[in-house]
Symmetry: C2
Subunit: 329 residues, 2 copies
């Protein structure tokens, strides 16, 4: 079963990759060059993948052979990757990031100006794809999602120096920053697959919980990733408070708390400082409790699918939820 | 007649202003604060105004009394102002602008980071308003417009140091930067008013030509505005080549050309440098030929309305075209 699932995911990813490539067709070589750099830089394609799987979950046998419908599903799925990458580009400018996914950040190669504008371009591109569906319901989901996401980015910026960020506030930010988009991927996918209202709601909930788990794991991997990329520890070095720090601060002695805050606020964090912080977080259960919280959301995501009948694609979505929890990078 | 027209415009602007205010309703005070600062900073509301007038042009007597339809028209019109302001915010970051409309630029008060993100927010907000119309045709016009606009911004950035920019290349940029949006305002307005396909095309053409004229006059006023705002000469000081410079370079002696290019490329343009450049441009017919080109587009805009029957709103649109040409700020 697992082999069949992995094989299916691999096939989907190949088709998605093709669709991503064939859609970058600006008349201006520079726009394509920058877009290609940021889109083909080792992204996991989580969002398009979830969108396609959420659609296929509801396709009956007849529809699942209809090339036109399938094409429609793949073409739609990539809008979520463009949208995601657009937010990464603006994030990198806002954070003055040097690296992204182990490579130089786009702003490091083409400057902040071009990076902001190519972000705008990819955002516009993604909404253009959405509008070509001529489906007002889907359009409303996507525009509502982007609005909430943009509010989330601003909240995150305002919270940057807030070292007393609570777990609740943190979750509010990641809901807006990540979960709402992954939720939209799944909901829109399910609509394209022909889901009814109840089924749509199930996929929306699945995506939301999965998105929360995904971001929590991401924030954990910023400390513990097996990849020794140059962007490891990026959050901490930027002074960004995420769940591992929140839990560690809660559990630590006042002396350790003071030290951790000092390291976090330090403008020039050395590798040694980062390792010390990592040690303090580990010691104060920051990582283990973060993983527990991610598990909570993964289980929530899986439970939301309970009402759906058994099927290959349901198993695939259940598998993915566990897979996201176990990823090491 | 002129009094009646001015009165009508004044009334429209009051309603538009109200709609702009009532729609800024983020839960987050900071977002509203920055948005208000940039939206209520003396914008001329050209885009919403044209959208409303283009709708009213086609409303029959019965519809023009229907409050629901009218509300729909005003609510839609403001999306164009939000979209416009979003691009201004990103422009200001890209250009490192200190001032906008004679006041401190938002980035000067809240920094580049918040300015980029509030730009994203207003962009998302404008598309959210668009999607609430549940009209796929309008949505496609708007997303196509934003895509072309974002390409225009990138083109402009790439052309920044191109002192051999041709008139044709300049017009390609301003078409994307300004005319396409003003064209969309008019076309979308006409659709809301109930225009048929031919009528829509007329309004689209009117808006396109008017938009070209509007930007050309804007670029002229950057040198000749009666307002002695701190952003006077902004284009020149940034080294941006616009139509007055293109014409002046074409007409000047090689000595004057060299001097003008020197002043343009100078990183720290003093007020004296700017005045010297202005003198050289004036002497070499840069301003007068630019005004001629704006006139050409104003006439084109007016001519595109020829096929429409006489009406109060047609006169209003004709009046506005002339008014845009004559504005001094």
């Amino acid at each position: 079963m697992k082999d069949k699932i992995l094989e299916a995911i691999k096939t989907e990813l190949t088709v998605i990759e093709e669709a991503l490539k064939s859609n970058l067709n600006s008349q201006h070589p520079f726009i394509n060059q920058v877009s290609e750099y940021v889109i083909f830089s080792g992204g996991k394609r989580v969002r398009p993948l979830l969108s396609v799987l959420s659609a296929k979950l509801f396709l009956n046998n007849k529809k699942s052979l209809d090339k036109k419908i399938l094409n429609y599903i793949y073409q739609t799925s990539i809008l979520f990757e463009y949208l995601h990458v657009a937010t990464l580009l603006h994030d990198d400018v806002v954070d003055s990031a040097e690296f992204r996914r182990g490579r130089k950040a786009a702003r490091n190669l083409w400057g902040n100006q071009a990076t902001i504008l190519v972000g705008d371009y990819l955002y516009a591109k993604s909404l253009k794809i959405a509008s070509s569906l001529k489906n007002p319901e889907i359009m409303e989901i996507i525009t509502e999602t982007t609005l909430i996401m943009s509010e989330g980015e601003i909240l995150q910026l305002l919270n940057l120096d807030n070292t007393s960020l609570t777990e609740k506030e943190y979750e509010e930010v990641i809901f807006r920053k990540t979960a709402i988009l992954i939720s939209a991927c799944c909901e829109v996918g399910s609509i394209l697959g022909g889901a009814n209202l109840e089924e749509r709601k199930i996929l929306k909930e699945y995506g939301k919980a999965l998105g929360m788990a995904f971001q929590i794991v991401d924030d954990l991997l910023d400390y513990t990733s097996s990849e020794t990329g140059k962007d490891l520890g990026r959050d901490f070095k930027e002074g960004k408070v995420t769940l591992p720090v929140i839990y560690a601060l809660k559990n630590s002695s006042s002396q350790e708390k003071e030290r951790l805050l000092y390291l976090l606020k330090n403008q020039k964090t050395s590798e040694k400082d980062f390792l010390e912080a990592k040690f303090l977080i580990e010691k104060n259960r920051g990582f283990i409790e973060t993983l527990e919280r991610a598990k909570y959301y993964v289980n929530k995501a899986k439970e939301s699918l309970t009402k759906l009948p058994e099927s290959f694609y349901k198993n695939l979505l259940l598998f993915l939820a566990d897979y996201f929890l176990e990823r090491k990078k």
